[in-house]
Amino acid sequence: MPKQSRLSVVVITPDATVFEGEAEMVVVPAWDGEVGFLPNHAPMMALLGHGEMRVTAQGQLLRFHVDGGFVHVAANLVSVLSERAEAR
């Protein structure tokens, strides 16, 4: 897999796609504590807990509130699926 310097990020709930875009870094509240992803992260699936998700994109920090669900990382695509997620 060619090295890349960006991650694609999607945050999806059952009734909407909350966020879709590129980022340099993503931090999610996993079930046992925060997990951060940088580009070229190994494939991973993790359950999420309740807390704040942070997306760093071009020096900007975006925050989301997520409650449960899971994160799936593969091939520089970070998908967060949660029953409830909202930007804040």
């Binding site: 009734d15 494939p43 991973m44």
Partner: protein, 292 residues
């Protein structure tokens, strides 16, 4: 004289009816638009869930998860029927009820005990009239469906399934393929059938490349209920979109029919009026002729 007045009254009444059906058509059109957006918005989430579950599910390990249990013989099944709270939607509810009754007939013929859960006043009214026992009835699910409404419906049956009190759960709903194609359908919610489970198990996972946190079992046990709820949620939003689309068609037909009746009445009215005038003239002419 009295005839023209009679026709005029009917004309007015039908024009008012047409006004109402036309308004309902427009309301349904705008609601349908919103519901279709919801149907679209629900797609990415369920695709994401399906993909991950497909990757994690090993058909050999089915018996480990209560929700993947494949009962060798069905003894008891739950049928959840989704109907609407309001009528004037053409054959929408009738079709759903027929589908549910066919399914129940099939199950009962196989010796399966069926418990019926009904959503929506129309379905409830029908089965109450039939003296059919309903385990739960709900009329409190609004047109704008939210994911939590699916949890209200399916959490109890899901628990019963885990405890082996139920062997299958079906949802009778209306598919929303397009505004014109909204066939009633049966969805088997439990036991869960992960789509193409083995085909999607990819090489990375087999090779142990994936970091799984906590572990595959815990993840699956958490995700399977989400998956079940999500399928019910999708059935809910599709049914809601289908209801509006069916109402729109019904109201459009009603408006068109009213227009046709109005045209006919207007023609009859004009003819009657003309006949009356002609008669009056001939009376006057006749009277004048008699005087000469």
């Amino acid at each position: 004289m009295s005839k023209t007045r009679e026709i005029k009254r009917r004309l007015r009444s039908i024009e008012k009816t047409r006004q109402i059906t036309r308004t309902m058509e427009m309301v349904a059109t705008s609601k349908m638009k919103k519901m279709t957006d919801l149907v679209q918005a629900a797609r990415p989430y369920s695709m994401g869930l399906e993909e991950v579950i497909g990757r994690l599910t090993d058909p050999k390990l089915r018996q480990r998860y209560p929700l993947l249990r494949q009962p060798s013989r069905q003894r008891r099944a739950a049928v959840i029927l989704l109907t609407s709270n309001r009528g004037l939607a053409g054959a929408f509810n009738v079709n759903l009820i027929r589908e549910a009754r066919e399914l129940m007939g099939r199950l009962e013929a196989d010796g399966v005990g069926v418990e019926l859960h009904v959503v929506g006043k129309k379905g409830i009214a029908f089965f109450r009239f039939q003296n059919q026992e309903m385990v739960t009835t709900r009329t409190d699910i609004p047109d704008r469906r939210e994911p939590q409404h699916a949890a209200w419906l399916v959490d109890e049956p899901m628990k019963a399934f885990e405890q082996e009190e139920l062997d299958a759960v079906y949802v009778v709903y209306s598919q929303f393929r397009s505004a014109l194609s909204i066939p009633p359908a049966v969805m088997q919610v439990l036991p869960v059938e992960p789509a193409k489970a083995s085909a999607q198990r990819d090489a990375d996972l087999e090779a142990g490349m994936y970091i799984l946190s906590p572990g595959p079992d815990e993840i699956l046990n958490k995700l399977l209920p989400l998956y079940v709820r999500n399928r019910v949620y999708r059935a809910l939003v599709e049914t809601s979109a289908a209801e509006q689309s069916s109402r729109r068609t019904a109201m459009k037909n009603a408006t068109d029919n009213a227009g046709e009746i109005i045209d006919n009445l207007r023609r009859t009215f004009n003819r009657a009026r003309q006949a009356q005038i002609t008669q009056e003239i001939s009376e006057i002419v006749g009277g004048a002729a008699a005087l000469e």
